[in-house]
């Protein structure tokens, strides 16, 4: 296999949200450490799965990469250009190349716009088409995502959840991006509809050579769709490896517990499985534990985990992990 080409390079990405107190004079009294130092690459044409439980910072990561949130520190190189240093028109121009599909198909489409206006808007904003051409492109995009082109004049409320998510996909594709952040695109959908949307995303990736950052908490679906998988816990990445490596040889105790907790739809397998049941809850990101963030729930935690933050290191080619005990 040829050396994979890096499309997005994320280095030491940090995003803190300030917590303020006071009404007229606001002073900062703390910060939510949503994302705290991520370093990873996304290769061209791959699907990188990003998993973790709610509040671990996976959505913030996706949004910060796209500069929907400006990072507190760190850099995001997209095709060699540091997005963090761009602003205004330069940044807007880069945005054509990277898009997002949102989780909630009910909240992410403007109810007062027709489907045609929603999908056509990016074309008009970025001046890539006008008039009749917009309409043609919209009809083509609708067909591409498996909807009837005649639906362009309808409003979002006339569609089911799965159809709305297709509209969201069509909007993301309108500017022919190379990179799409899919932020839990299927978790609001019913099981039988999820498969429809996932198959669509896979077909589109094949056809247009898209690169996905696929954010999800459903580990079975992430295994299905991803080439490589990264696991996050409380704002930090704890493990990153190729899909089979991660699922077959998880090294970090959190990854191991997470994988063992996922039910498998097969009673014969379920009867034989041993679960690692983690104690307690995820601590608050306002005041994360010192050293290793997972140590408060980790079955292997030792003294060093309290004092020293584990280093993000490559233990075998392409397999990164942050743990003292590995």
């Amino acid at each position: 296999m040829a050396e994979p080409e890096v499309l997005v390079r994320v280095e030491n990405l940090v995003k803190h949200f300030p917590i303020t107190r006071g009404i007229i004079i606001q002073r900062q009294v703390g910060a939510v450490h949503a994302v705290d130092g991520l370093t990873f690459d996304v290769y061209r044409g791959e699907t990188l799965g990003l998993v973790g439980e709610s509040g671990c910072g996976k959505s913030t990561t996706g949004r910060t990469i796209l500069q929907l949130y400006r990072p507190t520190s760190g850099s995001v190189h997209f095709e060699g250009v540091d997005l963090v240093k761009l602003k205004g028109e330069d940044l807007r121009r880069m945005r054509r190349r990277m898009q997002m599909i949102f989780q909630d198909p009910y909240a992410s489409l403007n109810p007062r716009m027709t489907v045609g206006e929603i999908i056509g808007e990016p074309l008009i904003i970025h001046n890539v088409a006008r008039g009749r051409e917009v309409q043609e492109r919209v009809e083509h995009l609708l067909e591409l995502v498996g909807l009837n082109p005649a639906y362009a004049n309808r409003y979002p409320h006339e569609f089911s959840g799965g159809q709305r998510q297709r509209i969201g996909v069509a909007r993301a594709l309108a500017l022919q991006p190379s990179f799409i952040v899919c932020d839990e695109p299927i978790s609001a959908l019913d099981v039988s509809i999820q498969a429809q949307v996932v198959n669509l995303l896979e077909d589109l990736q094949q056809e247009f050579g898209l690169t996905y950052l696929f954010i999800a908490h459903d580990l079975s679906m992430v295994r299905h769709i991803s080439n490589r998988v990264a696991v996050m816990y409380l704002g930090v990445m704890v493990e990153l490896a190729s899909r089979d490596e991660l699922y077959n040889h998880p090294l970090h105790p959190y990854t191991q517990a997470l994988l063992s907790a996922v039910p498998i739809p097969d009673p014969a397998v379920e009867k034989k499985r041993k679960r690692i049941i983690l104690q307690g809850d995820v601590p608050s990101p306002v005041n994360p534990p010192s050293g290793c963030r997972f140590r408060t729930r980790c079955p292997l935690a030792a003294e060093i985990c309290k004092e020293v933050k584990p280093e993000w290191r490559e233990v075998s080619p392409g397999h990164f992990v942050a743990c003292h005990m590995v």
Partner: protein, 328 residues
């Protein structure tokens, strides 16, 4: 095994502006002593409405149970007076809801809420009841249970709140626990904690459970028997091993095929079920799954199939034998 609860021909409808919604269209099943029955289906298939109807928790209007029986201890729950059903609910049959955030009263302490069933059903004094509540909270794994009696619901995390709800449901040691998607709002590691807890309590207290979920993974590890619902009907029912080994209804086959498995190797294309779930504004005189079914034959379009036995303890509502592709 003796049957604890027998439901026959249950039908529930809701009046809405668009017309009458036929949420449950004649559901029959029984729950045996000590067993765990899983009810699986997608949103809007009528699984929650079924159990809410049995416990008489359907708001009326707009909802109405229009037909059916639910026999518990020789009596029909659906015909009982409000007074009688109140003695059963929370004491002999209790329920755990999906959303641990909104199912508590935010202005009462956890202790008051967990102890309340004891005061009402067992006639205990407040002091006795609170003592017992502390024991129960400890049993479901709440640290410092005694001190936490005075805390309010917002002071607990989602997983902890679900534990408290389970404690509240089990405090009168009911014979039947109905759990309506109790882990859907929780993260997987917390979900594993809760399922582990329910299994332990089930073995200790010997109650029967009806577990409602859309997650076929959870059911595989938890249930003894499974009922699959679609469009207000039970369309397949079997022992858990049988159902996963030999799914027979085209919908069940499709549902299992559309799930990626965490233990799968290599890549296969997911089987998707085309089309959309039915709109329940009319009670169809054809098979509710026919519009999405690739096996459908002429008969499916003018006759709704009843549940038919295909193997011991395995019933399916389909005119087509999906293994041979021929009509039954």
């Amino acid at each position: 095994m003796t049957e604890l609860l027998t439901v026959e021909g249950l039908e529930t409808q809701f009046r809405t502006r668009e017309g009458t919604v036929h949420a449950v269209n004649g559901v029959s099943f029984s729950l045996r002593e000590g067993e765990t029955l899983g009810i699986v289906g997608e949103s809007g298939c009528g699984k929650s409405v079924t159990v809410m109807s049995i416990l008489r928790l359907i708001p009326s209007p707009p909802g109405k149970v229009v037909a059916g029986k639910a026999i518990y201890q020789g009596k029909d729950l659906l015909k009982m007076s409000d007074e009688e059903i109140r003695h059963i609910r929370g004491a002999q049959i209790s329920m755990v809801f999906q959303d641990p955030m909104t199912s508590f009263n935010p202005v009462l302490t956890i202790g008051r809420q967990v102890a309340e069933p004891l005061e009402i059903h067992m006639g205990m004094s407040r002091k006795q009841a609170l003592e017992r509540a502390a024991e129960m909270l400890a049993m479901v794994g709440i640290p410092n249970a005694k001190e936490r009696l005075n805390d309010y619901p917002h002071q607990f995390s989602g997983g902890m709140r679900q534990r408290v709800m389970i404690a509240m449901a089990l405090i009168c040691t009911p014979q039947i626990l109905i759990a309506d998607e109790p882990t859907t709002a929780l993260d997987v590691t917390i979900q594993a904690q809760i399922i582990d807890l329910v299994k332990r309590l089930r073995d200790e207290l010997g109650m029967a459970i009806i577990w409602i979920t859309h997650d076929l993974g959870i059911i595989a590890g938890l249930a003894d028997r499974v009922a699959v619902m679609y469009g207000g009907y039970i369309i397949e029912m079997a022992q858990v091993d049988e159902l996963y080994a030999h799914p027979t209804h085209p919908y069940t086959i499709g549902l299992l095929g559309s799930l990626p498995r965490m233990d799968e190797t290599g890549h296969r294309r997911l089987i998707s079920i085309d089309g959309l779930p039915p709109v329940l504004l009319e009670k169809p005189n054809y098979c509710p799954f026919a519009p999405r079914c690739k096996y459908a034959v002429e008969r499916c379009w003018h006759e709704n199939p009843p549940l038919m036995s295909v193997a011991p303890e395995h019933q399916v509502a389909c005119w087509v034998d999906t293994q041979t592709g021929r009509e039954r």
